[in-house]
């Protein structure tokens, strides 16, 4: 069990590191268009040409052909590690222009093909992942912070506070949440800058989701309140906020972590769903949702399978988080029995 959880956590760490260092890993600028190469298939790496095998892979230039693209065998470009390309800021701070992989100019490398504007799908999956996963994590933080605060307050003070807060949770639990999310979106201005939409969306998604964590936390606080060490701390004159912070919150922490693993993928999917319908993060900023939205056209869905790449990335992320949540939850159950 433990080994499974640690493998999952490692995978998760790798995923998030990749998203943090996106600028370095992505070979291209995510919004740089190339109108000559729309819907190019994933670039094939070659190791063999007429003169024999090579250790260093190379790519051929693409020429538009009668049926998609054909490789122009007369022009080949070597694939190199650590090349200079477009400028970016590592971690949003350090300006750099080094990239992990690239090809000699004027060659093009699109590991996962290009989209309708000739933008590199691989780079966009990485940059879009930054947006989508960050949205999921931020919304989860909002939901858990609100949930934990209200849950602790409700459980600790009881009586009318408890009644009022639990009534409110019931209200939020019976909301058809996707409908409500759409409703809230309907009342916000449609055209906002990408950053503003991003923060508004995460706030809304998170605020709608506070109810379930609040209930869970309240339940734990109710039992924790009567523990001897809590009573003792109160007896020694500990203030309410001190007792809540020092003695009750730690008890709640493990549940919150499990909830986080459960909520993050759900909220990533929420962002993806909204952006998919054009209600979330707008073009040209990449997000997994708005990258997938071209697939609403059946012709694109049939012809250019590589555009499913964001869906695959989403699946990988969700499955890792989901399995981790399973492992954490079953461990909690095991502890409580």
């Amino acid at each position: 069990m433990n080994r499974k959880a640690s493998i999952l956590i490692l995978a998760l760490a790798a995923l998030h590191l990749a998203l943090l260092f996106t600028g370095f890993l992505a070979p291209c600028d995510p919004i740089a268009q190339d109108r000559d190469l729309p819907y190019a298939p994933p670039t094939r790496l070659h190791f063999r040409d007429t003169s024999g095998w090579h250790l260093r892979p190379f790519v051929y230039a693409l020429q538009p052909g009668p049926d998609g693209y054909i490789e122009d065998r007369s022009q080949s470009f070597l694939v190199r590690l650590m090349v200079r390309g477009n400028k970016y800021k590592l971690l949003g701070l350090v300006p750099l222009d080094w990239h992990l992989i690239g090809v000699d100019q004027p060659g093009k490398i699109a590991l996962l093909g290009t989209d309708e504007f000739g933008r590199d799908e691989f780079s966009r999956v990485l940059y879009g992942g930054q947006i989508s996963v960050a949205a999921g994590i931020l919304a989860t933080l909002v939901a858990l912070t609100a949930g934990a605060t209200f849950g602790v307050v409700a459980g600790y003070y009881g009586w009318i506070v408890d009644e009022a807060l639990m009534g409110a949770t019931e209200l939020f639990l019976c909301l058809p949440w996707l409908y409500f999310l759409l409703g809230v979106r309907a009342f916000l201005p449609l055209h906002l800058s990408a950053t503003r939409t991003f923060f508004l969306l995460t706030a809304v998604i998170g605020l709608i989701g506070w109810a379930r964590p609040a209930r869970l936390v309240r339940g734990i606080v109710l039992t924790a309140r009567t523990r001897n060490y809590v009573l003792a701390a109160k007896g020694f004159g500990g203030s309410d906020s001190y007792v809540m912070r020092r003695h009750i919150l730690p008890e709640v922490m493990s549940v919150l972590v499990a909830q986080a693993a459960l909520l993050v993928p759900r909220y990533i999917a929420a962002e993806v769903t909204l952006s998919f319908f054009g209600l979330g993060v707008n073009e040209p900023t990449a997000s997994w949702g708005n990258m997938l939205s071209v697939l609403q056209r059946y012709s694109v869905l049939v012809s250019y399978q590589w555009l499913l790449a964001p869906a695959v990335a989403l699946v990988i992320t969700s499955v890792i988080y989901g399995l981790l949540a399973d492992a954490l939850l079953s461990r909690l159950e095991f502890q409580s029995t």
């Binding site: 009534g167 019931e170 209200l171 019976c174 909301l175 058809p176 996707l178 409908y179 409500f180 759409l182 409703g183 809230v184 979106r185 309907a186 009342f187 916000l188 201005p189 449609l190 993928p265 990533i268 999917a269 993806v272 769903t273 998919f276 319908f277 054009g278 209600l279 997938l292 697939l295 609403q296 059946y298 869905l301 049939v302 399978q305 499913l308 869906a311 989403l314 699946v315 969700s318 499955v319 988080y321 989901g322 399995l323 949540a325 399973d326």
Partner: protein, 325 residues
Amino acid sequence: MKYLALRLIRAVLLLLGVSVLCFLFTEMAPGSFFDEMRLNPQVSPDTIASLRSRYGLDQPLVVRYGRWVHSALRADFGYSIAYNSPVAPLLWTRAKNTLLLNTAAMVLTWLISVPLGVWIATLRRSAWDRAIDGLNSILISLPEIVVAVAVLAIVVRWRVLPVGGMSSVDQDALSHWARAREIATRMLLPVMILTLVEAGIIVRHVRAAVLEILDAPFVQAGRALGISNVRLMLRHVLPVAANPIISLFGLSLAGLLSGSLLIEAICGWPGLGPLILDATLARDLYLVIGGIMLSTLFMLGGNLIADAMLLACDPRIRTGRADES
């Protein structure tokens, strides 16, 4: 009975709460339907003001809310600005399609997942059980949108099923029987996706519920008495394991109207989902609120039915102390 009455009152209060919440949001939000119009130089501010007063949008929030509740009690949810018609019939024609789709999906889902869950539970933590459970965890953690897009991609690519809409163009020329068949074939794809999305969770809960009871001493005793496995399962295990399954069934009922928004929109099924989605894009206030209220109504109704079923099935709840859960 008193218990159910209390629940009913609670549901009504919740419904009121949701409507208040909706109106509060409309008040706090900066945008409105007329924003686009305001950018148009050919429309004078006076026109917009008169339009606003015609739809009652110039009134203060409390008055608007009071009027809305007053008419909502008579099943009139206001006037859609974008469609220029009352909201209720718009919602109802679409809601019927959604109900048709979701009922079919729900029946199929439950027919598949209950036997499957029971069967997996009888495997009793063998290698098979663990393998299936692992697969199931992965299935559960797949986001709905990915399942929908992937199934759609497969279906469209190999042209297995007709995609999009609910009927073909010449449906008026068809007989009743042919029309029903047409609808059924077009429903197959969204039903399939919905079943895939929902079955996993139900299978998992049924398995967990049954597995817990299978270890109980009375089952051992029954087996020792020579009661056949099938009878033991149907007569002794399932009734005891029913509680969480019934709650889950209630959740399924509750989602009848709101569970399929995404899939309807992706498959082009003319249900409530696409309507609300368009209304959102057009910022058609009362239509959105009407949609939210209608699906909340179903949510609460589903929960209420689940409560009633639990009450009927579980004597422990009838003896009181039920409100504590």
